[in-house]
C-alpha cells in the first residue's frame, strides 16, 4: 500500500493487537493530543476551525510550512474516541510532507480496526475530519 511509513507503522500496531487493546491504544493517543497553540485559542478564531459534521466540538487547523503539513487540534475531553483519532492524524502527519496526508486512505478507521467498535454517527464525524485534513494537504 502506498502510504507514509509513520501511518503504516501506526496501522500495523493497531492491527497486531486484539480489540480491547486497540481501544487502550486509542485512549493513549487521546491522552497525548497536544494542546492548541496560543494563536488559535481565542474563541472567535477557534470557531473558524470547527468541524460541523462532528456532534462534539472539534477544532482543526492546518498550515503548510515549506511543503510540510502542520496540524493543530482541540477536541473535548468528553469525546476520547474523537480525540484519539485526531491525535493519530497529528502523530502521522504533523511536520511531515503534505503528500503523506493528501494520499492517506479514506478508510483509515477500518484499517485501524476500529470500524466495528465506533458507532456510525461518530464514524461520519471522523471521516469528515480526515477529509478536511486531506483537502488541506492536497
Amino acid at each position: 500500500m502506498d502510504m507514509s511509513s509513520t501511518l503504516a507503522e501506526i496501522i500495523e500496531t493497531f492491527q497486531s493487537v486484539d480489540a480491547d487493546t486497540r481501544l487502550d491504544l486509542l485512549l493513549d493517543y487521546a491522552n497525548n493530543l497536544p494542546a492548541l497553540p496560543e494563536k488559535y485559542r481565542d474563541e472567535a478564531v477557534r470557531d473558524l476551525g470547527r468541524i460541523h459534521e462532528c456532534m462534539t466540538p472539534v477544532f482543526l487547523f492546518m498550515e503548510k510550512d515549506a511543503g510540510n503539513l502542520r496540524i493543530y487540534a482541540e477536541v473535548a475531553q468528553e469525546a476520547p474516541t474523537v480525540r484519539g483519532f485526531v491525535s493519530i492524524l497529528v502523530s502521522a502527519f504533523d511536520g511531515q510532507p503534505c503528500q503523506d496526508a493528501a494520499t492517506a486512505p479514506a478508510d483509515l478507521l477500518k484499517l485501524l480496526g476500529l470500524d466495528g467498535q465506533i458507532r456510525m454517527n461518530r464514524a461520519v464525524g471522523l471521516s469528515a475530519i480526515l477529509g478536511r485534513v486531506k483537502k488541506a494537504a492536497a
Binding site: 481501544l23 487502550d24 487521546a30 475531553q77 476520547p80 474516541t81 467498535q117 456510525m120 454517527n121 461518530r122
Partner: protein, 289 residues
C-alpha cells in the same frame, strides 16, 4: 430519592447525591455506565460502576436485534447482576445511552432499573469521586426472565398503529423529520433512501426533554412539550422512533416514567427500516427551494 416528586414514577429517578450515598452497597445495587463514546468510561467513572456498551454488549453482531435472553443473562452474571439486583444507569449525552441500556434491560424482563438524573456530566461537574480502575464483582447467577414485548414495536405493528391514526413521536431533528436530510455527509451508503417521517407522527426532538444541566425537565414543562404541543392525551397508546431506536428510548423513558403513559413502545427499527421499506408510506414536508 427523586428530584421532582410530581413525576408519575419518581422512584425510578435517583439523584447524584443518592448515588453517592448508596454506591458502596454493591450487593444490592449495580451502577452501570452506558455512553455513546466507547472510551469515555476508561477516562474515569463512578468508582463502583461497570461499563455496558450498546454496540459491543447489547447488540447482536449478526442479526439486526438485541442479544438473546441467554446472552443477556451471561452479560448480567458477568457483572455480578442477579435477577434481584437494582441496576442504576447513567451515561453521557444527558443519559441518552443510559435510557437505551435501561430499555434493553426492561425488554429482557429486568424490572429493577433506575436512572441517575443528570447523568455522567452532573456527577463530574459536582466533582464527585471518579476512578479509572474497573471494579470486579463476583459472578452472579442470572436466570433469563420472560421478555417484555409491550415496550417494543415492530414495523407491522407501527403500520397498523399508523392506520389506526394513533399517536407517534418522531424524536429526530427537524431536518430529519421534514425530509431535508436524507443521509449523512460522505456516508450515502449508510443512509436512508427516502427522507421524511411516518405519516401522522409529531416531531419532538428528544433533547427538548432535558434541562441545561442534563437533568430531566420538571413535569409541567414536559407536559407542555408532549401534551399541549404534540397533542398526546393521557392513556394514549404511543410509538416513539428515531433513526435506529436509541434517541427514542430516551423519550420512551420520559413518557413512561415521568409522564405516566402506560402504553409506550419504542420502534427500534425506526427510520433506517421504515424509510427503506417497500410499501411503507412516508410524509415529506421539506420542499427543496
Amino acid at each position: 430519592m427523586a428530584n421532582d416528586p410530581t413525576y408519575a414514577h419518581p422512584e425510578v429517578l435517583v439523584s447524584t447525591e443518592w448515588v453517592e450515598k448508596n454506591r458502596s452497597q454493591t450487593d444490592k445495587y449495580r451502577i452501570v455506565e452506558s455512553d455513546e463514546d466507547v472510551l469515555l468510561y476508561s477516562t474515569g467513572h463512578i468508582p463502583e460502576a461497570v461499563k455496558i456498551d450498546w454496540i459491543n454488549d447489547l447488540n447482536d453482531p449478526v442479526v439486526r436485534d438485541y442479544i438473546d435472553g441467554d446472552r443477556f443473562a451471561e452479560l448480567c452474571a458477568k457483572h455480578g447482576i442477579s435477577n434481584d439486583t437494582t441496576v442504576v444507569f447513567y451515561g453521557d449525552k444527558s443519559n441518552w445511552w443510559a435510557c437505551y441500556a435501561m430499555w434493553v434491560f426492561k425488554l429482557n424482563g429486568h424490572d429493577k432499573c433506575l436512572i441517575m438524573d443528570g447523568g455522567r456530566k452532573k456527577w463530574v461537574d459536582e466533582m464527585k469521586p471518579i476512578a479509572k480502575e474497573t471494579p470486579k464483582y463476583p459472578a452472579a447467577t442470572y436466570t433469563p426472565a420472560a421478555k417484555n414485548p409491550a415496550i417494543r414495536a415492530f414495523k407491522d405493528q407501527v403500520l397498523s398503529h399508523m392506520k389506526a391514526k394513533k399517536p407517534m413521536i418522531d424524536v429526530r431533528s427537524p431536518q430529519e423529520f421534514s425530509g431535508e436530510r436524507t443521509h449523512m455527509a460522505e456516508y450515502p451508503q449508510e443512509g436512508v433512501l427516502r427522507g421524511g417521517h411516518i405519516p401522522g407522527a409529531k416531531n419532538v426532538p428528544w433533547a427538548k426533554s432535558v434541562a441545561e444541566n442534563g437533568t430531566f425537565k420538571p413535569r409541567p414543562e414536559l407536559e407542555k412539550l408532549y401534551l399541549s404541543e404534540a397533542g398526546l392525551k393521557p392513556g394514549d397508546d404511543v410509538v416513539a422512533y428515531c433513526r435506529i431506536g436509541e434517541r427514542s428510548s430516551h423519550t420512551w423513558f420520559v413518557l413512561t416514567y415521568l409522564l405516566g403513559f402506560e402504553q409506550v413502545k419504542n420502534y427500534d427499527g425506526s427510520w433506517t427500516e421504515w424509510g427503506n421499506s417497500v410499501g411503507a408510506p412516508i410524509e415529506k414536508t421539506y420542499k427543496p427551494g
